[in-house]
Symmetry: C2
Subunit: 243 residues, 2 copies
DNA sequence: CGGCTACTTGAATACTTTCAATCCGCGTGG
DNA sequence: CCACGCGGATTGAAAGTATTCAAGTAGCCG
């Protein structure tokens, strides 16, 4: 299944800025292939040299780092529209891995050297730079979350932020959304042991705040959860470009 | 004390790439002023709109976020040559604060609209983008540090990384370097309570690994500390541009 | 010499993890 | 159809780790 950029279902979402005809052609020239992968499969691997650049088209993935000693830290969730492997394309190597959480389909952007394209399209480059600067803020928030927040807040925050990211993509509505992370994933994202995470999740459920069941997240009482988690909801980027 | 870019003492350090004459002129046109501030003074403040862009010329500072509930998370140390307020210049607002740790002197880069300059100098823009992508990796490492590492490792890592950053700037040599952070700063950087941090610091000292005294850091046994902290030492950017 | 700030220590409490089972749902092969 | 095996989810109890509260100490500057 090859999806030409002109037909890209993501491109027309409100959260992406419209391309000029010129830019659309440029990005289309970048697209080399469209591939699918099963769940639990590494899309790129830490240390890889000369890896490709991708856009996640459908499905979920996560960025992660393995630690000496066997642990894993999940660095971020990767949702449709997110770019994978920018570091490969710009620096030649990548320092984190990305693994699929569900079956995924990906745009492979290798048809044209990226830096050449960026040289020609300064507005794309500036957009990319602005996007990286906005992402720095999300990284800062996650750091503060792990450094100074309690388990309940960490989990609540993850739930709310993920829900809102999906809603922006029109992949969630009402009070429910897909949530294909297993317990170990959530533990590795929030810096908790799986067992303690579980107890905290139970408490969230008993308090009728939110629950995760059957790979779905249900938020019962958003107002209280927002307050509890100290969730601002202002972390999300208003509009960005899609590569 | 106004330092013209041509005389900039940082510019010629090996860790910065040389400017073309053109680029140097461009950056010089950006420099509007040179200011000094005392220690413990906010250079930029979270939420500020339309703040300036700075380069830290001398002294130490740190990026931080205040949390609802009174806590503070130190997000990163800011050392000479580091840029402050890119988010102000590119997005119009800033979501974190930066505070001086020692008396500092700063280049104020407001003489010319930054995006105009970036449009004209695509290589600078690409450098900036590459730098942001490299910094993402440092942020990832810090996240894993707080999410999955023990206190001893967090502190050891902070010591080693800071020491190496200083050495690259030719501000450290041998086994000692300046280290003007107080206990509370270290606690807020590593996500520990000050008291527990203190005990851990005592242990590091008793084990003859490292100590902090009189605002100086002394690393007694780098090899063992590297091993203990799981410090790769490959996080540091080889060469970047200086704005 | 106060008065201030930073640092250090002790003890009690609260929080998290580890270890060890148990449970549950699901797909497979008998 | 049902027992079996498997991976994931859940729970209990004990051990370990970190925080809070409360003093107490050291050094510095006016």
């Amino acid at each position: 299944m090859h999806v030409p950029c002109i037909d890209c279902r993501l491109r027309t979402r409100a959260c992406y800025r419209p391309f000029s005809t010129d830019e659309l052609a440029a990005v289309a020239s970048l697209k080399a292939d469209h591939v699918t992968l099963p769940a639990k499969h590494d899309i790129v691997r830490e240390g890889e040299v000369g890896g490709a650049l991708y856009t996640l088209y459908e499905g979920w993935a996560f960025r992660y780092a393995r630690l000496s000693g066997g642990g894993r830290q999940i660095l971020d969730l990767v949702l449709p529209g997110d770019i994978i492997g920018l570091s490969s394309a710009l620096l030649g190597t990548i320092r984190h891995s990305v693994q699929s959480l569900t079956p995924v389909s990906l745009c492979v952007l290798g048809g044209y050297p990226l830096t050449e394209l960026l040289r020609r399209h300064i507005d794309l480059t500036l957009d990319l730079l602005r996007w990286r600067v906005e992402e720095e803020h999300r990284a800062d928030v996650r750091l503060a979350l792990l450094g100074r927040r309690k388990p309940l807040q960490r989990i609540g925050y993850l739930m709310l932020e993920t829900f809102d990211r999906l809603r922006r993509l029109e992949l969630a509505e009402g009070t429910m959304c897909p949530f294909p992370l297993q317990r170990q994933h959530i533990a590795d994202a929030t810096g908790l042991s799986m067992i303690h995470l579980n107890r905290t999740l139970t408490k969230l459920r008993d308090d009728k705040l939110a629950r995760i069941e059957n790979k779905m997240l249900i938020i019962y009482d958003r107002r209280r959860l927002v307050e509890l988690a100290g969730y601002g909801g202002k972390e999300l980027i208003t509009q960005r470009m899609l590569l």
